[in-house]
């Protein structure tokens, strides 16, 4: 089962963006805008993916 996370795939503006490949902070992503926890209103912070290749499951399988 390979990783299917939000990394290494093209993403639309406003969604997760891959960060620099040489980042020491593998697996950590950062949002540019904070939203109150618990809100059910979808918000679209500009997540910056600093690098991650951990196993996960997506709609196409694990």
């Amino acid at each position: 089962m390979s990783g299917t996370g939000a990394t290494d795939t093209p993403v639309p503006d406003g969604a997760a963006h891959p960060g620099p490949s040489d980042s020491p902070e593998s697996g950590v992503v950062e949002a540019s805008a904070a939203t109150p926890p618990g809100s059910f209103t979808p918000v679209v912070p500009a997540f910056t993916v600093l690098g991650s290749d951990a196993p996960s499951c997506g709609p196409e399988g694990c």
Partner: protein, 221 residues
């Protein structure tokens, strides 16, 4: 005493990496000693799956991924080994593939009653270790009662679907975040971790979340 960090975790009951990630995150929490408030968010990996899928889990994954059956079995054996390393018992070839929307609805009821962590653990153990069917109302009600939820309320909630909007809101939020795979962890709506990372990565995220809190805290006059 410092305020707890809010950690929202998007995952699905049938996601083997989510349960492994859950254990790794717990290890990180124990090592760091951090205070956190965990909220489990819904993510439906396969909302089109029938409640009573008529094939085996091997058939299901082979169809979903377009892979040969032997390759799927090897993959399952590998994940089972990794799960065992985290102290988890998996019987992947005997699980009951199902639609998990009701289980997610139950998790939202459990959240309102302050039993979400217990419900999440009970559901995942029931699915992976006990190979219980987690798509039927009565099976879910039995599990709910085990973690202290009220039987009639659980049955009513799973019948009238009062928590379905909350499930769909979580799914919509995941889409808005660009989350395409689970588990996915969001710390204070500011930092995120994708996948079943090592405890070290989770520790790093917890430390960064704490630093952000302290940096934004008002300075005493």
């Amino acid at each position: 005493m410092s305020e707890p960090i809010t950690v929202e975790i998007w995952s699905d009951i049938q996601c083997p990496w989510c349960y492994i990630g859950k254990r790794r995150f717990t290890t990180a929490l124990e090592r760091s000693g951090e205070q956190v408030e965990i909220v489990y968010r819904s993510f439906e990996l396969a909302p089109d799956t029938p409640v009573d899928y008529e094939g085996s889990p091997v058939d299901y994954l082979a169809q979903r991924k377009g892979m040969p059956l032997d390759q799927v079995r090897q993959m399952m054996a590998h994940v089972t080994q990794l799960a065992a390393a985290e102290g988890l018992e998996y019987h992947l070839e005997e699980t009951h593939q199902t639609n998990t929307v009701l289980a997610h609805e139950l998790l939202h009821l459990a959240k309102e009653r302050g039993r979400q962590a217990e419900m999440k653990e009970r559901l995942m153990h029931a699915y992976f270790a006990e190979t219980r069917h987690v798509g039927h109302v009565e099976e879910l009600v039995a599990l709910a009662v085990e973690v202290g939820l009220e039987e009639d309320e659980a049955r009513a909630a799973l019948t009238d679907h009062r928590y379905l909007p909350a499930v769909k809101a979580d799914v919509a939020q995941a889409q808005a975040f660009g989350i395409s795979g689970v588990p996915f962890y969001v710390f204070d709506r500011a930092l995120g971790v994708s996948g079943a990372q090592s405890p070290e990565v989770f520790e790093q995220a917890l430390a960064q979340a704490r630093e952000r809190r302290e940096a934004s805290a008002p300075v005493a006059p």
